[in-house]
Symmetry: C2
Subunit: 582 residues, 2 copies
């Protein structure tokens, strides 16, 4: 039996609506047959010219971005991943999937599994329990930046309507792109003197970008690797039928850059983010931070006799990378016909008020609000700082820089190996009352730790992310923070120093959006709340690849005693060797 | 009690001498206290400019070549190797060390161990039971070519004299050097169309070479990576005192190139190879193939008022790489004073007769001959061919191209996992009577296998390596074959097709040299004999890194049932996960 829930009717009292939702789940779930969707992936290095410059990338079945996972709520996803890298391990994280009951499938190397060794086939199995737009990507070293990523699209069950309508559904992943290998990047970040990865060479829209080959000395070897006519770097084309409405699922997996996405001459209505319905609002362009996903509705309502630019621009850092371009192609114009107009250049890169305002505009959609707990059991304030250890540059929270242990936490905790990582608790705050967020850290020296936060099961936890100044004067950077295993409520954003007395009074406890990734704006704060109700061990980290690599993250444990028997397929490294009994 | 054995007295009857040796071992071994030599190594990626061009290399404790292992016969070597690579595993092979009683310490990924995972510390422990010149290097993927290698020097016990004298002892490793990463090289080799690694950018003497930076377009990014004045690429200096005699331990770990080593104006007397004493012979220059080691004696007997060039040149392939140079510095001349003479250019690269003649000149030293068994129990003829599988270029022996299994053979065999690799036997020959070695293979298609040769324990095995034509007309390549776990007797070399009736009659059964690496010359054959008396599983392969990567090798098993309990430290990958019992 199928049942159409009257999700379109607005202003139903929350309680009643929730009851309807609950009833409908009870009624529909047994009748909708959840499917198993099985994928066989082979991961390897191949030469690709995504921005016209040929370099080695990690592909899945020959592709980057990898194959899309298209599923329906309640489906079981089984990915048999064969690691055909030569000497390198791999792990793949299913970004936004909460892994309820399958914490060992989160794919976070060092946290929930040993990496997959070369030659091995590892099976990830999990349920996609919530419709929405998600991602997958490598979660090991800086491997994500080598091209191992793709999209997950989970639709509502048959017979369930969404609270908005559209004619077509398209996914677009945005990325920034470097010509140096992740090995070279990582070696530089770990060097003294520090060698920064720099700004990306290009921006990719659905794996396609354009580096200006003429920047390379024409007689150089590199010039021979750059070919502006290579079809692999022809712009991505989104063909639209005049008058039709498109759901564009736009996500970002940049290594570094915050981006702004715009379609020339077209408004966008934001309707979903990170798998949660957004109270619709109209924008000219979208700020999107690494790890975020958005659905926007775009109507092909402009002059149909021409094509339009879709453009991404760097924001929040001074752009040194050319606008990334795709063609928004009105059928039946030729898909390769470039618009003659000047591509959108996006908002001012340093307009932080603009970015803050858009963040604040994102609320849960009426009728789909999951009310947050009105109070929390624990408040953890995390001051984000740039620091150093013995002259090596680091990022830290509360002045501790995070490192992963040799044995994944999930296994160490289940085996009760207290020696596998530091058993102390990282600090719940760091001199937060007196910390001067506008100055270079008074104590630039940090220490590293692999200690984690142990949360009381089912407790409600607030996280106050507090930004500060880097080690350069008058500089604060945007950090997109991503939580594994959960959606959190975004209770508020603010400028400057968080006021622990007055700011909580302004929290949005009525219709906060739930997300899994949220920006911490420059010199600002972001307040989150989540319920520690998913047994497992969950990473929480800045989604900027070099920042996490440099220590900007931590891990939460909750209810690990409720986690069932771990599959041996996640073992093999570190202390788990002691479990080998030949 | 120490005892000087009269090894200098020539022409002692072999039997008597052998008795003396045996007695002396019995008498001396209990009295000489074998030491434990412990090393702590950290392996990681670092930027180095070994040939003036900066690239990422794998270092040990910050060095490439890595630290030398200096030991005495009978010592136990313990290397605690920490893998600090980010996402990449590692394994280190102790080249020339037979690993008697410790086959799990051979360090051959896929054969004797799972690789060492990032963050892990693995302990290699073995006895150096024979004096001589040995090597160590990565044995995983194409990792050796990334710079992970070094030398092992084992001296005779105190009180034991060598059959030659010298004043100083120096080790020099020769190498060829590529600017592309091993990742890029491997991706090209595995591609269709095939992308060959090409000729090396430079030749290194003890880790130092010189790429001509002016070959790079001056405005290119690469030019910025090349700095001819970087001290890291100043030539290696070998300072000598006039009138003194130097034992130079010269070894080669080239990825591709066969080399010729020469010291301007100085003769060299070959006295040792691969840990075996050579009947001395004098040469002007030394042909050396990847995986070989030689000791030569050089007397500083030339005009001491100047310095001299030491030079390496490519042979056997048309050279496209500049001569590699070091300075043979007569004290007290300034060590950086370059000779004004033209550096030696070596013999004609394609003079195969010259190379064959030098190979034939190498015999066991009188008084140190270990007589070979006069007959063998099994003859395995291995035809070396270039082939293809489904359009992918391969190397094969007897028309099968070798691949490593997911589970190392040593573990699979001890656990009796017959499903872990193909249990059939690879062929003992391949149409050898009719095979036309001078033509492109009539059947260019090959298959791949991970089947291995099972040898009867303590049996005597002959290997006839037969060269042929590659897939290019009129082309045959030199292949240096290396056997793990053994020294073999070199019974003979020949030109053209091996004659199984007449050629064995010409075998040198009197004083054949024992080696662990031997060249197979172009369009020729090489005949080896060894005793399958070392319980374990032993790789036998072409030491050219891309050739082994493309399938040019195999594995021998002997007496594996006599191997003791395997350490779990070699496990963790492949089927060994089934041994994990949490």
């Amino acid at each position: 039996m199928m049942m159409i829930i009257p999700f379109h009717c607005p202003r139903l009292p929350f309680g009643l609506l929730l009851l309807t939702v609950l009833l409908s789940s009870l009624l529909t779930i047994p009748t909708v047959e959840a499917r198993i969707r099985r994928y066989k992936w082979e991961v390897k290095y191949e030469y690709k010219s995504q921005d016209c410059y040929m370099k080695l990338v990690i592909t899945i079945n020959g592709q980057t971005p990898g194959p899309s996972i298209i599923a329906q709520q309640g489906d079981t996803i089984i990915v048999e991943l064969k690691n055909s890298l030569l000497t390198e391990n791999v792990a793949v994280h299913w970004h936004g999937i909460r892994q309820i009951g399958t914490p060992w499938s989160d794919g976070t190397e060092g946290v929930t599994q040993c990496p997959i060794f070369p030659g091995e086939t590892h099976t990830y199995k999990y349920v996609v329990d919530k419709p929405g737009t998600y991602l997958y990507h490598a979660h090991y070293g800086m491997q994500r930046a080598a091209g191992l990523y793709g999209s997950i699209r989970v639709s509502v069950p048959d017979g369930v309507a969404e609270p908005f309508s559209y004619d077509y559904d398209r996914s677009i992943i945005l990325n920034d792109w470097y010509h140096k290998s992740t090995y070279e990047q990582a070696a530089g970040l770990s060097s003294k003197p520090f060698v920064w990865v720099g700004e990306p060479e290009s921006l990719l829209i659905q794996g396609r970008g354009r580096y200006n080959c003429s920047l390379l000395s024409s007689s150089s070897l590199e010039a021979g690797l750059c070919n502006a006519t290579n079809p692999e770097c022809s712009p991505y084309v989104l063909t639209v039928v005049p008058g039709k409405t498109y759901r564009l699922r736009i996500s970002s997996l940049t290594s570094l850059s915050a981006l702004n996405f715009e379609i020339e001459g077209h408004n966008m209505t934001v309707v979903e983010s990170d798998g949660n319905y957004v109270e619709p609002f109209v924008i000219k362009n979208l700020n999107i931070y690494s790890g975020e996903t958005y659905s926007v509705l775009v109507k092909a309502d402009q002059n149909p006799s021409r094509n339009y630019w879709a453009a991404v621009n760097v924001i929040s850092r001074q752009p040194q990378t050319a606008t990334g371009l795709a063609i928004f192609n009105y059928y039946p114009n030729h898909p390769r016909r470039s618009p003659t107009t000047i591509p959108p250049t996006g908002p001012l890169w340093n307009n932080s008020d603009y970015r803050l305002a858009q963040s604040l505009a994102i609320k849960a959609r009426q009728g789909y609000v999951e009310p947050p707990p009105q109070t929390s059991d624990r408040v953890i304030t995390l001051i984000n700082t740039q620091n150093q250890i013995d002259g090596y540059k680091k990022w830290a929270i509360n002045n501790v820089s995070f490192t992963l242990p040799e044995t994944p936490y999930l296994i160490a905790l289940k085996e009760n190996w207290t020696h596998a990582f530091d058993q102390s608790s990282p600090p719940d705050n760091y001199n937060s009352a007196n910390y001067d967020i506008y100055s270079i850290p008074k104590n630039p020296n940090t220490t590293s730790t692999n200690a984690i936060y142990r949360l009381k099961f089912n407790s409600t936890v607030d996280i106050i992310l507090q930004n500060g100044n880097t080690m350069n004067p008058n500089n604060s950077e945007t950090h997109p923070w991503h939580l594994h295993g959960h959606d959190f409520w975004v209770l508020g954003y603010g400028k400057g120093k968080f006021d622990s007395v007055n700011d909580p009074k302004k929290y949005n406890l009525v219709n906060p959006i739930m997300k899994n990734t949220v920006p911490l704006h420059t010199y600002g704060w972001t307040a989150l709340r989540f319920r520690a109700d998913n047994p497992g061990v969950w990473a929480f980290h800045c989604h900027i690849e070099p920042h996490f690599f440099m220590g900007m993250g931590t891990v939460f444990e909750e209810g690990v005693e409720r986690v069932g028997k771990l599959p041996t397929s996640i073992m093999g490294c570190g202390e788990t060797k002691s479990l080998i009994k030949p």
